[in-house]
Symmetry: D2
Subunit: 178 residues, 4 copies
């Protein structure tokens, strides 16, 4: 396991998102456990990637290829995913649609973290994304975390909610063994 590198995907391209802060929290906790992490933030994607990196342009966009390389060098991925319109952000699926097909996520081990200002913690979006990842032959940890009411319970990089901290600790523990 010592060579495992864990990518933490911020599942939105919005600036100053809570998901990015939660991703940093995961990176910090996983680093503490002795593993190497890298944050993969969709806000740094080329702005026209939905056109310039997909279909006949697949593999030709150098800036997008940096993202592909980061995915390729990670054996495990944490997806931190805000809830937009009752599911995961379209930009995250567009990112996945732009990755080299069909092996980019195959056999990777993945865990899902939903984030929302409302109560659901993106429960439905995690279900949808799990389907996509399973379709691509990634293996997703059963234990999905749903961090609802994020603005009440997470501030300045710390959780004020012990339940959430405990769930995250359990998830990271299970994920590192997975």
């Amino acid at each position: 396991m010592s060579n495992t590198k864990i990518g933490i995907v911020v599942g939105t391209n919005r600036n100053d998102s809570q998901s990015e802060e939660v991703a940093k929290y995961y990176a910090q906790e996983i680093t503490k456990a002795g593993l190497e992490t890298t944050i993969i933030s969709l806000k740094e994607l080329p702005h026209d990637f939905a056109f310039s990196a997909l279909y006949s342009n697949s593999g030709k966009n150098t800036a997008f290829q940096n993202f592909q390389d980061k995915i390729d060098e990670c054996q495990k991925l944490v997806f931190v995913i805000p809830e937009y319109n009752g599911s995961y952000p379209g930009v995250l699926k567009t990112f996945i649609d732009g990755l080299r097909h069909p092996d980019s996520l195959a056999n990777k081990k993945i865990t899902l973290v939903g984030v929302s200002s409302g109560v659901l913690g993106n429960a439905v979006g995690l279900s949808h994304l799990n389907d996509v990842l399973s379709y691509l032959n990634a293996n997703v940890l059963g234990f999905r975390i749903k961090l609802g009411n994020i603005n009440s319970y997470f501030r300045e990089g710390k959780f004020s909610n012990q339940t959430y901290e405990n769930l995250i600790n359990k998830q990271i523990y299970d994920f590192l063994k997975f």
Copy 2:
């Protein structure tokens, strides 16, 4: 009903997609039934819309606003949706994420058409998209069509498969009454 305008959304920004041809087929059949249609094709979106039309830029991108206006003037929408990575294209969700929130699709009547080269006809993607549309308070016709093996059964604007033609006729009939 005579004033109803029906938008037919091509759910991908890929050029020369089968979904666009299927959308034209629906437009033609609905026009025959005496209703006004307009095709809304995501390939005409501004290439950087995932950044320039969302979040703090919401409502500020004039080219995107033309799409918003088209959605606003339709009371009913047909979504023709290819299967990418076992679900609907990310660009379609990004488009929805860019629409004026939260009323853009509320109370609209929508029907779903899945298209795939494989056998599934985007069955899982239609489920995912139905969740998003329901979340936004659109009403989706129960009868979802799954056009699998599209390359075998649809050529030069015509279906060679009588079953598919019958399903589409039933769907359009039910949708116009819906």
Copy 3:
């Protein structure tokens, strides 16, 4: 509309369920609006119906047929559905699997109410059930209600949570027009 009869399905066979109390609340509110209602409670199903009313026994179980008749005489249905193991109760799907195939729910108008002691209000279960109902060509109102934390907000037949009351009023209003 005056002849419309609305069935309210209690989606569990558990005794003394909160879902049954919520179903009674809906019946009372819809009756106030001037429509006829009937409660269809799965706890009254024959105990062996999963064997005695399905497959080669389809249509032969008289006690089950009383349920079939109730479904047949309703043009609209409200499903009140507790969350069991992150989805809707198996007994509800078994009930649907026992109904006359394939037309029992076709063209019916249906609305969904999720109930849970946890925060999710059966959000994922409503998604699953919507798929089943759509498959059977029922039309499901987009506006799905998720009543999480039910034990805190609903007691002795009354909601102490104004938000929930408002959501339910909107749902019933939209459903009667649907």
Copy 4:
């Protein structure tokens, strides 16, 4: 791994189901690979288990407890699941609802096989069931198999479709390593 016992769940209580035959096929192939298997067939459940083994009767039905014991002694499970009404059988969810809560499936490794006479191979039902299993903290192999048109391709315990055989071989190989 030598002590691993693999349970193969026939996800229906219908007599003479294709799913049971497919389950036997999996048992035979996994046995060839040197592992112990046991078939868990829902048709042998007590006929009134939806009432006599759930809720206040949980743990009290001796015949149901034999099923609980079988689940408990398996570290890995294959679910073979027919498509009923566009999803998995209600009786399978009712069975899960009757298992000891919440640990019966936690940390088990599970793989999913969809079976249908139509083309979909229960694609949507596998998505639904994956959600339930993930909720219960089971880990589900990403690679889900969808055996559509089963009556054309599987007869007298043999597949006539090389693609299906290859998919199953890959699934079993990945599952034994999982």
